[in-house]
């Protein structure tokens, strides 16, 4: 049978948790389909990490050690991955759906003229064929996607499964990667956005509004008063910030602030994955939305299907009355 190639990712000097999750998926597929598992570990000063990955699910590891691979860049990363695909003859290439993974994986698939499925939460073999499960319509529907052809590239949602817990006895082989001069994409650096405004991660209570709030002034008139009545902070979902209704520091979600308050109230937020990732571990979640099928109700403890413009002001009034 063929080879599964895991493209491991390094973050902050360590192999990412998501890469061990890929190992878990690869080892399960290999056990079912008789594949061999190989991995690519690339970067600068990676010898120990390559050894570690070979023992923790990565199998035989190609170690691509190079100054140019120290930080992610589409040009250098795709060279390293292509070299590992060539060396392994992989029929399935697994990457994580991270900012690096989603940037480079489709290019690899196009270059190989391979089947490509992104952001999967489940990958399995059915009758020898690879079947992927992923969300569509911003999390509102699940899709079952079948693949065919000799080669497949798949990206997997971080956190989709638990990291590989067993051990493997892979060996590490150096992989030479050529970097021709005159690359047309160059890594420049990382900018850390200065944090300003409220640090939502410290708030005990957060009241967030979404697209359903409808207009910037409604945040002042409807959402903020409820947050004030509870002594909490106001937050928002991405579409609100994108529309310029509120500044970015109000944004809760994977590209904003990740919060875990004692109480999170979501009003007019349907619950796109990117928002859920930022708040689903809150201690208690109350959701108010007009759409009974909104994904937010799946993570909420208490839900109300209704008009937030009726319920939120009435709730604010009742809370103020209850406090006396």
């Amino acid at each position: 049978m063929g080879t599964i190639l895991i493209v491991a990712e390094i973050q902050g000097g360590k192999i990412r948790e998501a890469s061990f999750e890929l190992a878990s998926i690869a080892q399960k597929l290999a056990a079912a389909g008789g594949h061999q598992v190989r991995s690519l570990v690339s970067g600068k000063g990676i010898a120990a990490l390559a050894e570690e990955f070979a023992k923790k699910g990565g199998g035989d590891v190609y170690a691509a050690e190079h100054e140019s691979l120290g930080s992610y860049c589409v040009a250098t990363a795709s060279r390293a991955i292509r070299a590992a695909v060539d060396a392994s003859g992989a029929e399935l290439v697994l990457l994580s759906n991270t900012p690096s993974g989603w940037d480079v994986a489709p290019r690899i698939a196009a270059a190989l003229d391979a089947a490509f499925v992104s952001d999967c939460f489940k990958v399995e073999l059915e009758g020898g064929k690879l079947v992927c499960h992923r969300r569509v319509f911003n999390g509102k529907l699940d899709a079952r996607v079948s693949t065919n052809g000799p080669r497949t590239v798949v990206t997997v949602q971080p956190g989709a499964t638990s990291p590989f817990a067993g051990s493997t006895s892979g060996k590490v082989t150096p992989l030479a990667v050529e970097f021709p001069a005159g690359a047309r994409a160059r890594f420049v650096g990382i900018k850390i956005a200065e944090s300003k405004g409220v640090d939502l991660s410290k708030a005990d209570i957060i009241v967030s509004g979404g697209r359903g709030v409808g207009a910037p002034e409604k945040f002042r008139e409807v959402i903020q008063p409820l947050a004030d009545a509870l002594g909490g902070a106001m937050g928002a979902s991405r579409p609100v910030v994108d529309a310029g209704w509120l500044p970015h520091h109000y944004q809760v979600g994977s590209s904003g602030q990740v919060v875990q308050p004692k109480l999170y109230i979501a009003a007019g937020i349907s619950g796109a994955i990117q928002h859920l990732v930022g708040m689903k571990t809150s201690n208690y979640i109350i959701a108010i939305n007009k759409d009974p099928d909104a994904p937010i109700f799946e993570v909420a403890n208490l839900g109300v299907v209704g008009d937030l413009f009726e319920i939120v002001p009435a709730l604010t009034k009742a809370l103020l009355a209850a406090k006396g």
């Binding site: 589409v74 489709p106 079952r144 959701a287 209704g306």
Partner: protein
């Protein structure tokens, strides 16, 4: 300078998503469509370059008759020319097939820059833009939240995790797939909409692009077999009744949590 913007028309964000009886996709009859939200930001980014440099902005889209409306909207916002790939042979294409069609257009148009949205609001694959760049042989950057032009290079800030941004420099010609919120998207003015009626809108077939037999269901390497609402977990405890009943239910819960 020439800029190509790739647009996808998708079901309106507030459209009812009913799954077809065979489960293959959603029911598209009688629902509203709109330009994919990410793509409106891509178009705006291109129009800003046009405002500064007089660049020509060409918009391209693939799909049935209804796509004309999306292209007319883009022309109304300020794009100069539109290309509509309308051909039943496109049906069933996978994202790589779509990328091949767009690559054929890009090779014929030879733009200096290509702007696209980061992903589509329906399929959420986020893969056509890098595939297109690979097929054309140009560099690409995804999830762009800031783009600065300096002569022949673009400095692109990509949104990565934890609120950080990764800066990458691309040599033109190149492709940038933009994240939502990168700019404030303009509306088409009445004057713009009137002017758009006279702007060229070319309709092309797959054969016109030299891709007969290379795209469509027969060439697709992946297939969305079935879509369905996600399995319901235990979900939330739902409060029903009058507004007063609902409110007292919530207040009771907040008291119970010791937060009042």
């Amino acid at each position: 300078m020439k800029i190509l913007v790739c647009l996808k028309q998708v079901p309106h964000q507030d459209a009812r998503l009913d799954v077809r009886s065979d489960g293959s996709w959603i029911q598209e009859d009688n629902i509203k469509f709109e330009i994919n939200s990410y793509d409106t930001y891509a178009l705006e980014e291109a129009l800003r370059v046009k405002d500064a440099t007089q660049a020509e902005v060409v918009v391209a889209s693939i799909g049935p008759d209804r796509v004309t409306q999306a292209l007319r909207t883009a022309l109304g916002m300020g794009a100069d020319r539109a290309i509509h790939v309308k051909d039943p042979a496109v049906e069933g294409s996978d994202p790589l097939g779509i990328a091949k069609i767009l690559a054929a257009i890009a090779k014929a148009e030879n733009p200096d820059l290509i702007f696209t949205g980061f992903m589509s609001d329906d399929g959420n694959f986020a893969c056509v833009p890098p595939m297109l760049a690979e097929l054309v042989g140009i560099p690409s950057a995804t999830a762009a939240v800031q783009v600065e032009r300096k002569n022949g290079t673009l400095s692109v800030s990509r949104e990565i995790e934890g609120g950080a941004q990764e800066v990458v420099e691309l040599t033109a010609p190149c492709l940038v797939a933009v994240q939502t919120g990168i700019n404030q998207v303009r509306y088409a003015s009445l004057k713009g909409i009137m002017a758009a009626k006279k702007k060229p809108l070319d309709v092309k077939t797959v054969a016109d692009l030299g891709l007969a037999g290379q795209v469509g269901a027969g060439a697709a390497k992946i297939k969305v077999e079935k879509i369905a609402p996600p399995p319901k977990g235990s979900g939330a405890e739902m409060l029903t009744g009058s507004t007063d009943q609902i409110v007292s239910g919530i207040v009771g819960k907040i008291k119970e949590l010791g937060l009042l």
